[in-house]
Structure formats: structure tokens, C-alpha cells
Amino acid sequence: METSSLNVLLVGITIVFFALILLSFTLYLFGKIFGRRKNRKNNDETEKSSDQITIEGVPDKKIIGSSIENINDAELVAVLTSAVQTYMGREIKNSLKVKSFRRVDKASPVWNTTGKIEQISIR
């Protein structure tokens, strides 16, 4: 009896570890393959965008960049204004004007933020 039980123990642990190590290795390869694909894709995209600049014949890359930024800025100002208005209530409806904004770097990674929210919700 004990031999067969020991057999189940050893075979069981060996196969569980083998299966999960195999999966772990496959996932590791996943990371390598998909990471490389992503890098290549990013490189292609950068090349394409620089090609576009030369095709369009715009010599200064910064000009395109700033014009796109300006369009985004207008949208961003609208979004920020409405967000602040919603947050502060109706009473200051017409007196609010966003004059400037500054991007603040994220203080903590997204997973940490998720963790914090989780922590708060279970307390």
C-alpha cells in the first residue's frame, strides 16, 4: 500500500511540476517572440512616420509635431474644463477657464494603483 501511495505522490508531483514548468517555458518563449514582434512593429512604425515626413516634403519634423500637439491640446483643454466643472458643481458654470495645464508623471505604476483601489475597497 505504502509503495503505491508513494508512487502516486512522486508521479503526481513530478507531472504537475513538469506540466507547469513546460507551460512556464512556453510562456517565457511567448514573451520573447511577442516582445520581438512588438519591437519590430514599433521600429517599422517609426520608419514609416519618418518616411511620411520626407514624402510630404516638410523639412522640419518639429512643426508637424507641434501642430498635432496643438489639436490635441484644444481637445484636452475642453476635456479638462468639463471635468473640473463636473467636479466643482454647477455654481461656477460660466466663470471657469482653463488657462494652462501641465502633465504630471504617474507617481506609481498602474498595478500599484489597482492594488490601492483593491485595498481601499476591502477596508
Binding site: 505504502e2 502516486v8 505522490l9 508521479v11 506540466a19 511577442f34 498595478w111 500599484n112 485595498q119
Partner: protein
């Protein structure tokens, strides 16, 4: 007029009041059912399952109901003709347990609700999921030594996987007579994770180890998430074909979710299907806990053994997960917090939350939740594989 009185007297004589309870154990089991209802409703311990299980137990112990006939399922084969002629409502619903239909369907829903991203981002998590399954096999030996048959020992040991559907699936195949007790023990221990695990985790780790913050996980692309369920199914099912119902359904559910093109199906398996199966599974599993069975010689001893061995199995699983976490801590030069190892027993997401909580106690700036989700979902795959191995070797 006499007809009226005769009818009334016939009705009364066939009522539960006249017949009374067949066994004193009916009262005990009904009290246990009420206790479980209390835990489910007031203490909110796994209420989604504990309430149907407790009510099923309550119904099965009421006299003269003919709802459930455990004797119809006592042999290896179910006599369908006899079942059709004599079966009650719960007998028919129980077929889903007996034939191993409900647990894989629950896995389908779990797969559709699980994000394997943290596991894909950190493949080392799988090793922690494997280490935590050690409790299952160690308890198998313990159960054999105290007199359980090999099949019963396998069914009892799987409680250590802390995965209700897996425990029910394995018990229904290996030891159907112990199914009710095993299911209740498995779900009770899953609900008790926040009490059972922390002392073990703290005893096996130093404060310095518990304080270790972990690096942010890499982002996982959609393509990886879509390929993952297909690759896991291919590898695991080729290796352990008996794990196909559980692993196959788990991964199918996950593919539905990650494909992003079948939202209707995903929502159905996450909600309606999962809820319906949970009701059927809970009420029928509870109904298997009838007094008739408990009065069989030696059954009471077996039930006590299940409760104790389940706890042992679960504790060993937690301990091995943490110890393997410590090995990874050493091997990676202190980059892995060993606390995430305890999440390798399934119990999603409770075990991961416990890792987070104990980690935050040691270092309030420590956020381990997503890191612990990796071993946690690896534990689901690991316990399904362990179940497949036990069924292959013992059936």
C-alpha cells in the same frame, strides 16, 4: 363527510409530522444546514454556494419528500430506467454531478472571468502554482495511512487544491459516497482562507522577506492572451488527457473572453450559465448529505477525517507555496516576495487578496495583488492537472 375525514387522515398520516424523522441524525444534519445558512447569509462565507448547499441538505433531511434517493447512485452505474421511475427532482439534477457535467461548466464560467495576464507576464508564477499542489499528494499518503481506500484518499486530498469544482469533479468520479462532505469541506476551507493562511505565511517568512516590493509586470498583448488558452489546452491535454474536461472548459471560457468577438457568449457563460449551474450544483451536492448515509457504519469517522485531512492538505499546500516563494526569493536575489507563493492554492481571488493583505501589513507601500494573481490562476490550472493525474492513476 366520512370521505372528507378519511382523506384528511390519509394526508396527515403521509405527512412528515406523522412519519417523523427516520434517524436522529436528520435533526443533527438539519441543524448543520441551518448553521451553514447562518454562515452563508450572516457571515457571507461563500454565500453563492453555501446557501444552495445548506438548503439542499435541509430538503434532503425532511421526511417523505422523495426528492433524492442516494441509493440510486450508490453503484458504479446509474440504472436509468429505475431513475426515471423512482427519481425525484434532486435525483435528476444530481445527474449533472454524477456524470461530471456541472464542474467543467463552472470552469467554463471561471475561464471567462479570469485574466491570465499576470501569469503570462510572469511565467515563474506557474512554479508557485505547482508547489502549492504538493499538499494534495502529501495528504493522499496521510489519508491512505489512516485507512481510506486509494480512491477515497485521492478524493479527500484534492480539497488541498482549494478549488470547489475540481474537488466535486474528482470526488464524483473517485468516491461519490463522500461527495457531499468533500464539497462542504472544500468550500468551507476556501471561505476560511483569510484565517488559515496568514499564520502559516508569517511563520515561514521573515519580516524582511514580507517587505519585499515587486517590480511592475510587463504589459501583455492581446495576441498573447488569445494564443495562451489554445497553447495551454494543447500542452496540458496532450500530457494529461483526463484533465481535458476541466482544463479544456477553463481555457475555452478564457478564449471566448479574450477573443473579444463573442461578447454575447462571454456574458452568458460568465453570468447566466454559471449562476444556473451553481444553483444546480449547490443544491444537489447539499442533498447528498442525508442521514441515511451518515448512519452507515464508519461514515461518521470518514467525515471527521475529511474535515481534518482537508485542513492538513490546505495548510501543506499553503506552506509549500510559501517555501517555493522563498526559493524564488533567493534565486532572484530578493526580487520575489515569498508571500505570493501562498496564492498558489487556487481559491481565486481570496488567496491573492490574503497575500496582498499580509504583504501590506509588513510594508504599507507593498502592492502584491497583481503579482499574487499569477500564482493564483496558476493554482487553478495546477489543481485541474492534479485532479487529472489522480483520476488517471486511481480510477
Amino acid at each position: 363527510m366520512s370521505n372528507f375525514f378519511n382523506s384528511i387522515s390519509n394526508l396527515l398520516s403521509s405527512s412528515g409530522f406523522a412519519g417523523g424523522f427516520d434517524y436522529w441524525l436528520n435533526y443533527v444534519l438539519m441543524l448543520i444546514a441551518f448553521l451553514l445558512l447562518y454562515f452563508g447569509i450572516v457571515k457571507k462565507c461563500e454565500p453563492l454556494l453555501l446557501i444552495p448547499i445548506a438548503f439542499g441538505m435541509f430538503l434532503a433531511n425532511l421526511p417523505n419528500t422523495d426528492l433524492m434517493h442516494p441509493e440510486l447512485f450508490s453503484g458504479d452505474h446509474v440504472n436509468i430506467q429505475q431513475l426515471v421511475n423512482e427519481g425525484g427532482l434532486l435525483d435528476f439534477l444530481y445527474l449533472g454531478v454524477k456524470l461530471g457535467i456541472y464542474p467543467p461548466l463552472i470552469f467554463l464560467g471561471i475561464g471567462a472571468m479570469t485574466d491570465f495576464g499576470p501569469l503570462i507576464a510572469n511565467p515563474k508564477s506557474l512554479l508557485l502554482g505547482a508547489a502549492a499542489q504538493t499538499g494534495i499528494f502529501a495528504t493522499f499518503i496521510g489519508a491512505r495511512l489512516i485507512g481510506y481506500t486509494a480512491k477515497e484518499a485521492g478524493a479527500v486530498a484534492i480539497i488541498g487544491g482549494a478549488d470547489g469544482p475540481t474537488a466535486i469533479y474528482t470526488a464524483a468520479i473517485l468516491a461519490p459516497t463522500l461527495l457531499g462532505a468533500i464539497a462542504i469541506a472544500a468550500y468551507s476551507y476556501m471561505a476560511l482562507v483569510p484565517f488559515i493562511q496568514p499564520p502559516i505565511m508569517k511563520a515561514l517568512t521573515t519580516k524582511k522577506e514580507r517587505e519585499v516590493p515587486m517590480k511592475q509586470l510587463r504589459p501583455v498583448s492581446k495576441l498573447e492572451k488569445v494564443v495562451f488558452p489554445v497553447v495551454v489546452t494543447l500542452l496540458v491535454v496532450l500530457l494529461i488527457p483526463k484533465s481535458a474536461p476541466l482544463v479544456g472548459m477553463l481555457m475555452f471560457g478564457n478564449l471566448l473572453k479574450e477573443s473579444g468577438v463573442v461578447n454575447r457568449l462571454t456574458k452568458t457563460v460568465q453570468n447566466e450559465l454559471m449562476n444556473i449551474i451553481t444553483i444546480f450544483l449547490g443544491i444537489t451536492v447539499g442533498a447528498t448529505m442525508s442521514a441515511e448515509k451518515l448512519t452507515q457504519p464508519g461514515y461518521g469517522f470518514q467525515v471527521v477525517g475529511i474535515v481534518l485531512l482537508g485542513l492538513v492538505s490546505f495548510s501543506i499546500g499553503t506552506a509549500f507555496g510559501v517555501l517555493f516563494g522563498k526559493i524564488l526569493y533567493k534565486l532572484t536575489g530578493g526580487k520575489v516576495n515569498p508571500l505570493i507563493g501562498s496564492a498558489g492554492v487556487s481559491a481565486v481571488p481570496m488567496a491573492a487578496r490574503v497575500s496582498q493583505k499580509v504583504g501590506a501589513e509588513a510594508n504599507p507601500r507593498n502592492y502584491l495583488l497583481m503579482h499574487a494573481m499569477g500564482p493564483n490562476v496558476a493554482g487553478v490550472i495546477g489543481s485541474a492537472i492534479a485532479a487529472g493525474i489522480l483520476i488517471s492513476m486511481l480510477q
